[in-house]
């Protein structure tokens, strides 16, 4: 078990795993997302109050879930990097940050566009919306730190510390709708309770959520591999790869 983990934590071992797994993840992500989109846009019933603008849920909820999941994963990777000095953890955190920022933006944008017909406004400074905007700024901060500090070690440490401190925002996002009066309604997707919608609305959402998570896995595996190649380009095992082509 430990030996296996050790092999995975080595760039070379992870590289081999990534090469084997990532095509499946990409394929699964594409399939699930295409199925979920067609199902959600064309076949799921409209909502009794919101009509067809309800269909925005099929991008809004997966994007918002992913935005937070990616951040938590980055924070765990940051902790592993800071404490155990495992470089692979930092490479993975680097690899997933842009997707996290993109998903946060997508959640905010689709929420704003959904808010216009349902709430009558595209933005309010309510606790859920504001904490989600803060998440976007945290992502920008992490990306900017890595961009500005070219020196790998210091950039990695600063970005990890920022990510870890920012993780406090995640429970605030989660519980904002319960702790305070907000315009945003309580959570749609929850592990503990039954979904508040019938299955012909909920199943496409589940498919979309799974598709988004597969994409997260695919992007992380592939981009971590690129990061390994970039940082270890002069190593012998990497040089040996060129014989096989890309």
């Amino acid at each position: 078990m430990w030996a296996y983990l050790h092999k995975l934590a080595s760039p070379q071992g992870f590289y081999a795993l990534s090469v084997r797994l990532s095509p499946w993840c990409w394929g699964l992500a594409l399939t699930l997302m295409v199925v979920g989109t067609i199902w959600g846009l064309g076949f799921a019933p409209a909502d009794y109050q919101q009509g067809n603008s309800f269909r925005i849920i099929y991008v809004h909820v997966p994007a918002a879930l992913l935005a937070q999941s990616i951040y938590v994963t980055m924070a765990v990777a940051g902790l592993v990097f800071l404490v155990w000095r495992i470089k692979l953890a930092d490479m993975a955190a680097t690899a997933m940050a842009p997707l996290g920022a993109a998903m946060t933006f997508l959640a905010l944008f689709s929420g704003a566009v959904w808010g216009v017909p349902t709430w009558g406004t595209w933005w309010q400074w309510d606790a859920r919306l504001t904490s989600m905007l803060l998440l976007l700024f945290l992502y920008f901060g992490v990306l900017a730190l890595r961009g500005a500090l070219g020196g790998r070690q210091s950039a990695a440490r600063a970005a990890s510390v920022l990510t870890l401190v920012g993780v406090i925002n995640i429970p605030i996002i989660q519980y904002s709708v319960e702790w305070w009066y907000t315009l945003h309604q309580p959570a749609t997707f929850s592990v503990t309770s039954r979904p508040a919608m019938p299955s012909d609305m909920w199943l496409p959402l589940l498919v979309m959520v799974l598709g988004f998570y597969c994409l997260f896995l695919a992007v992380t595996l592939t981009r971590t591999r690129h990061e390994i190649l970039r940082r270890e380009a002069s190593r012998r095992w990497v040089r040996a790869l060129t014989g096989e082509g890309s």
């Binding site: 009794y48 919101q50 709430w119 606790a127 401190v165 749609t188 508040a196």
Partner: protein, 167 residues
């Protein structure tokens, strides 16, 4: 080496705990300002300021909506099932606006206790269902909002219930 790791872990955890405490204190100090709106109970208790615009939120009371046939002016009451406040508004209402719907109104609280609204926003709950299901529920004597309660007996969502957020 092992001790070094443990030290690093302790430093990071301490940093996290401190940051969490700081954030918690800040949120606690700001707790009333983070609420997007006042409930009718709070407005009646005099917690809402008179000198600046406020947001008040609750449900549109049943049979309270009175539209002026000549203009866009409308009057309605916002209630949390305990207290209710009168709202006067002139303008276009959101599609979701109807009696029993959650709303947030932005406006000035008048000394007589009613709100002159500049903006009316609709809240909605986390229950989604096709129109047929909503009709069937209504026929069976349930409100569509009961869907989730009937499904798993979980408490109603915050803000649609008088004591939400107060406890």
């Amino acid at each position: 080496m092992r001790r070094q790791r443990r030290q690093r872990l302790q430093v990071i955890l301490a940093m996290l705990v401190l940051a969490a405490i700081a954030a918690g204190l800040m949120l606690y100090a700001l707790r009333s300002n983070i609420n997007l709106f006042f409930s009718p109970m709070q407005v009646v208790a005099g917690e809402a300021p008179m000198d600046r615009p406020i947001r008040a939120g609750g449900l549109v009371a049943k049979d309270s909506v009175k539209r002026d046939p000549q203009s866009l002016a409308v009057r309605f009451a916002v209630t949390d099932h305990v207290e209710s406040i009168q709202v006067r508004y002139r303008g276009i209402l959101p599609d979701l606006f109807r009696e029993g719907q959650g709303v947030v109104v932005l406006g000035e609280l008048q000394p007589e206790g009613w709100v002159r609204a500049d903006e009316v926003l609709a809240r909605h709950d986390e229950n989604y269902m096709p129109p047929e299901v909503a009709d069937a529920l209504k026929e069976a004597g349930y409100a569509p909002e009961d869907y989730r309660d009937r499904a798993d007996q979980s408490p109603p969502p915050a803000g649609t219930q008088p004591d939400a957020g107060v406890e």
